[in-house]
């Protein structure tokens, strides 16, 4: 699969590796996934794409190159020779083989403020608490590790590698500070083959989608697979962009979970992070019920999901209800997905239609889970609460035409605001037909331009507006096919919608 369109924004990488090869200005850079950690001395902002710019040289001169990239290999072509790059996830290494050319890895300003060391075993570049460690199995390395005494760091890191009998075989390790580099067992081709197979297997864990969108599905699968990050707890999350930021939220992981066929896998994402922020978990769990996916989920997993819902429900009840315990509010702008929304014109704290819809779904999901694990009394309580909340949502926030926000203290209503005014559609058939119908007829295709769009589309479909839902999803898929995917999380949602709505 050609991943070249992804190379600038997301790069070439591997689920289990920090190594990423990314393109900037026609050249490739070796980079690391963002760790979000600082350095002792304040570094200046770097505009570099990564840690090392890769150049090919011949006779001491820079040699232009072109490249191709698939999910398993990057191949560089010059008029004198070529280079191949693959990821050896087992060894936490980048494998680089070249023939006919010299290689230069130039950090330019990217590694200012760091220490480097040229040792008999290899070249070490300290990155935060770890090391970028180059070892040559074939080829001669030249590296200046001069310590710039008055500048508190080493000379700018430039590694030159010249071929041995025309060939270079270089390993770039990602190592913790004191670890010896692990043994290399596989060839570069074996690594590429394994990685391709891993991605294929990952693709198969996603929900089925119509064959006409297979090309898009492959690309989404690659981005989702690449963007995995293991947390210190051992759980994995999928990031928006592994290169740029390691930040994510529990609600984002709930959206990610939508794409997985296997409910246990989906559940792992839902519980991967502490349940804070937007209570999207209920929505995600109900999607699993809709697919009848809970049959094979273990009781312990179900209990974990139930705990998450309990914690979320309790938090919003204790911290974000006013006089009406069935109406919840955003205390701050930035608690909402859209802090600049017209919703907030009536002043905080604001009872918002989207928030209350999430919590209604949370109650429904909790009721379904309690039935699943046979805590019937709890199910009754959750349904009672759900019904009261639905009444309160409609009584307070529906004006006959639109949903609005409302200042909890003054009762002042805010203007209807796209897409938040449509969010109660996520209640599907729980929303009265008259209300759902009024909302459905106003929705445009571009609803999916909004981060919350996927919720609305699912709601439309569940409420019986399948034609509208299909129209929107098809339009979104076409747009992504034309313009590319901007985020693996969005890609996950597209897969989920294509499965639910188009199959």
């Amino acid at each position: 699969m050609d991943i070249k369109p992804c190379m600038r924004r997301f790069g070439f990488g591997h689920r289990a590796s920090k190594h990423i090869v990314v393109e900037q200005g026609g050249k490739l850079w070796l980079a690391f996934a963002s760790e979000g950690a600082g350095t002792f001395m304040m570094s200046e902002d770097s505009q570099a794409a990564g840690l090392f710019e890769l150049s090919t040289l011949y006779d001491g001169k820079d040699l232009p190159y072109t490249y191709s990239a698939t999910e398993s290999m990057v191949e560089i072509t010059t008029e004198k020779g070529h280079v191949r790059i693959a990821i050896d996830a087992e060894a936490a290494a980048l494998r680089i083989e070249a023939e006919g050319v010299n290689l230069r890895f130039d950090s330019k300003e990217a590694t200012r403020q760091l220490t480097t060391l040229n040792t008999a075993k290899g070249v070490s570049v300290n990155i935060g608490g770890g090391r970028y460690f180059f070892v040559s199995r074939k080829g001669k390395m030249a590296f200046d590790d001069t310590w710039l005494l008055k500048e508190f760091h080493s000379a700018v890191a430039i590694l030159d590698v010249s071929p041995e009998n025309g060939k270079i075989d270089l390993i770039a390790y990602d190592l913790p500070g004191d670890m010896e580099p692990p043994e290399i067992i596989k060839t570069i081709d074996e690594c590429a083959k394994i990685n391709a197979a891993e991605l294929k297997a990952f693709n198969e864990t996603l929900l089925p989608t119509p064959a006409e969108w297979d090309d898009l599905r492959e690309k989404i699968a690659y981005l989702m697979w690449l963007s995995h990050k293991e947390q210190p707890s051992g759980t994995e999350v999928i990031l928006q962009n592994k290169l740029r930021s390691n930040a994510t939220t529990a609600s984002a992981q709930s959206l990610v979970s939508l794409a997985f066929a296997e409910a246990t896998t989906a559940s792992e994402f839902i519980v991967a992070l502490p349940p804070e922020g937007l209570p999207a978990q209920g929505f995600a769990i109900l999607r699993m019920f809709a697919r009848d996916a809970f049959q094979k989920v273990s009781r312990s997993t179900v209990f974990k999901l139930y705990d998450v819902l309990n914690m979320q429900a309790l938090w919003w009840l204790e911290n974000r209800t006013g006089d009406d315990p069935n109406l919840h509010f955003y205390a701050y702008r930035h608690e909402a997905e859209s802090p600049a929304a017209k919703l907030f014109k009536s002043g905080e704290p604001v009872a918002a239609p989207d928030l209350n819809a999430y919590i209604i779904l949370l109650c429904e999901a909790a009721a379904r889970l309690s039935e699943h694990i046979r805590i019937t009394a709890d199910a009754v309580k959750w349904r009672n609460r759900l019904n009261l909340q639905k009444e309160s949502l409609i009584a307070n926030l529906w004006d006959g035409e639109d949903f609005h926000g409302m200042n909890i203290y003054t009762g002042e209503k805010s203007e209807a605001d796209t897409p938040l005014q449509y969010m109660p559609l996520i209640l599907g058939k729980m929303l009265p037909v008259g209300i759902a119908g009024k909302l459905a007829e106003k929705i445009e295709n571009d609803i999916l331009d909004y981060d919350l769009g996927v919720f609305i589309v699912f709601g439309l479909y569940d409420a019986g507006y399948d034609k509208v839902a299909k129209r929107i999803v098809t339009a979104a898929l076409k747009q992504v096919r034309a313009k590319g995917i901007h985020c693996p999380l969005y890609g996950a949602q597209l897969i989920a919608m294509a499965n639910s709505v188009l199959m």
């Binding site: 002792f40 220490t115 004191d178």
Partner: protein
């Protein structure tokens, strides 16, 4: 202690309190304007968005004020009124005013305006307002008397607040107000009844006085500065969080709020009247020891995270404390608890930093591992066989021997003893060139004149007398390393000396003066130790508790003027730091003759 008309103000010192994450500093660029900040987010005061201008208001308009701060509160005075602020160690500060109000204006240090604010709202019970600041946490504003008025403007296009202002207003009739501001990350610290403001002030005073009892009396003539130094250490005591599981002493409050590994041991050395607390501080970093390699992190902060590595200073600190007050605090249980950890840390160096000669000689890979970031003896690069970390490893080995004995492991104690003696012999045979200890890179001695060449004096009487005498001679030769204000980090005869932004590139720094004077003292050179310590401590009395000082305003080697200005930056030449404070305390409390 600090004030508009006092010898020291808050431009370079940072006003804080033990167990609080909040601080007040004076804006260098706008003299007379105090700013309230918090250090949980980890950003320094010069680069944070979470900073409030403190304004005194009368009839709603800001008025100019002077201020005075002591350990218990800071008072802002104007002609017709005053406001007083007292920090607590219970995640809140208290404010009171009479004839004036207090205004806090959120103003980023880096042109970000009010973007740190992510929202605010009035709690339904009418008890106050909560404001959220993302990674910096939350503030809860609770008026106790008088009124509270927030003003905030959201810029939809920018997606951020453009203005956030909090006003505490006096009661219209009485003219007074009182309030509390709570700070927390997620869940609020429960509030309820607040103690009387005067009682709070008295309690804080008492707490500080209690803290001062951890230190021996200072040498005569240093009493006042000793108190400043004790306050500096006390006020940098951290809270306990996920990142810092035990209270530690932060390096600085506003510029670099980190708990540096070896600095905890520096602090311990000064607390001779409380060996339990001293020992606790030495042991704190072992909470984060890598279970596989034994490595200790270089620094910890509220955000967790660890960067680099610092020398194994713990053995030196422990030996010093025991030499002064004995080892009764090292119970068999404590020895049992800490011996494996000390052993693992010592073996970390001889394993992962082994020079590959088949013995315990180590090499370091960066200057941070010696503690001296820009020392001249590293001008030939790395890996370097540097006598200073080797010396610290020797003292770690001796400490391991002591702890092993203390928990009934005499054979292991003997083995450590033997290793320490062998390494000492190698240090003397291979790293002493007749004049100084040398750093070696690729077997070649580095040609440098820095003070680090004499640091192995901390081995005291383990060294032959001729080495002790030579070191003492070198350190007391005027115009070389010895300056009028103490030992410079590099010889004034070196071409590499700089008094600009540097750590040990030529400035006179507290830690080196403390280490060398303690070393001289332990080697029997009390007169020399006393003289040097006095020079340094006298300068601290004049200039305040800064990490490093330029000894001259010209370079003695060339006669050239030393033009470099030290700006308000995370640099050792600007803010007050607990590191020089603890060094001052050790020198005044234990080195300078009484």
């Amino acid at each position: 202690m600090f004030g508009t008309y006092e010898k020291f103000n808050l431009v370079r010192a940072e006003y804080a309190r033990a167990g609080s994450t909040q601080y007040i500093s004076e804006d260098y660029n706008r003299p007379g304007v105090l700013r309230l900040g918090g250090n949980r987010g980890g950003d320094p005061v010069i680069a944070t968005d979470f900073l409030f201008d403190i304004q005194l208001t009368q009839n709603g308009a800001p008025v100019s004020y002077t201020y005075f701060a002591d350990e218990s509160s800071i008072c802002l005075d104007s002609k017709d009124g005053y406001v007083e602020i007292a920090f607590t160690d219970r995640a809140h500060l208290r404010i009171r005013g009479d004839g004036a109000g207090l205004r806090l204006v959120l103003r980023s240090a880096v042109g970000g305006g009010a973007r740190a604010c992510r929202g605010l709202y009035a709690l339904s019970e009418g008890c106050g307002w909560e404001a959220e600041f993302g990674k910096y946490g939350k503030l809860f504003f609770r008026p106790l008397n008088g009124a509270f008025l927030p003003t905030y403007v959201y810029d939809d296009a920018a997606g951020a607040y453009s203005a956030v202002v909090f006003d505490f207003l006096p009661d219209a009739e009485t003219g007074v107000f009182e309030a509390a501001i709570h700070e927390y990350m997620k869940e609020p610290f429960p509030f309820g009844e607040y103690e009387d403001f005067d009682d709070l002030v008295d309690e804080t005073k008492d707490e500080f006085e209690e803290f001062t009892l951890k230190y021996p009396n200072p040498a005569a003539g240093y009493e006042e500065m000793y108190r400043y130094a004790m306050w500096t250490v006390w006020s940098r005591k951290s809270i306990v969080t996920e990142g810092l599981v035990e209270p530690m002493i932060l390096f600085q409050v506003a510029y670099l709020p980190v708990a540096a590994s070896w600095q905890q041991s520096y602090n311990a050395m000064a607390m001779l009247e409380d060996p339990i607390e001293a020992w606790r501080l030495i042991c704190t970093m072992f909470e984060y020891q890598d279970p596989v390699t034994g490595r200790l992190p270089g620094m910890m902060s509220y955000a967790g995270g660890t960067l680099g590595m610092q020398p194994p200073f713990q053995g030196f600190a422990l030996e010093f404390i025991i030499s002064k007050i004995g080892d009764s605090f090292l119970t068999p249980e404590e020895c049992e608890r800490m011996y494996p950890k000390f052993a693992k840390w010592a073996n970390y160096w001889t394993t992962y930093r082994n020079a590959g000669r088949g013995d315990d000689v180590i090499e370091i890979h960066s200057p941070n591992e010696s503690g001296w970031d820009d020392a001249a003896n590293f001008k030939d690069g790395f890996p370097a066989n540097d006598p200073n970390p080797i010396t610290f490893v020797i003292l770690m080995m001796d400490s391991c021997a002591r702890l092993a004995r203390g928990c009934g492991k005499p054979d292991e104690a003997k083995a450590w003893q033997k290793r320490a003696e062998k390494l000492t012999k190698i240090l003397i045979d291979e790293f002493w060139d007749g004049e100084k200890f040398v750093t070696k890179v690729k077997g070649k001695s580095v040609d440098s004149f820095g003070i680090e060449s004499y640091q192995p004096i901390i081995l005291g009487k383990r060294l032959p007398q001729e080495i002790i005498d030579k070191v003492a001679e070198k350190l007391t030769a005027e115009g070389e390393i010895l300056t009028e204000i103490g030992l410079a980090s590099d010889s004034m005869k070196s071409e590499l000396v700089t008094f600009g932004i540097s750590f040990v590139g030529g400035r006179v720094v507290g830690p080196q003066n403390m280490i060398l004077t303690v070393g001289l003292q332990s080697a029997g050179k009390q007169k020399e130790a006393d003289m040097i310590a006095r020079r340094f401590c006298d300068h601290v009395k004049r200039e305040g508790i800064i990490l490093g000082y330029a000894p001259y305003d010209y370079y003695p080697l060339t006669g050239e003027k030393a033009e470099e200005q030290i700006p308000p930056a995370i640099t050792d030449g600007w803010p007050w730091s607990s590191w020089t404070a603890n060094c001052f305390l050790t020198m005044c409390g234990s080195v300078i003759g009484k």
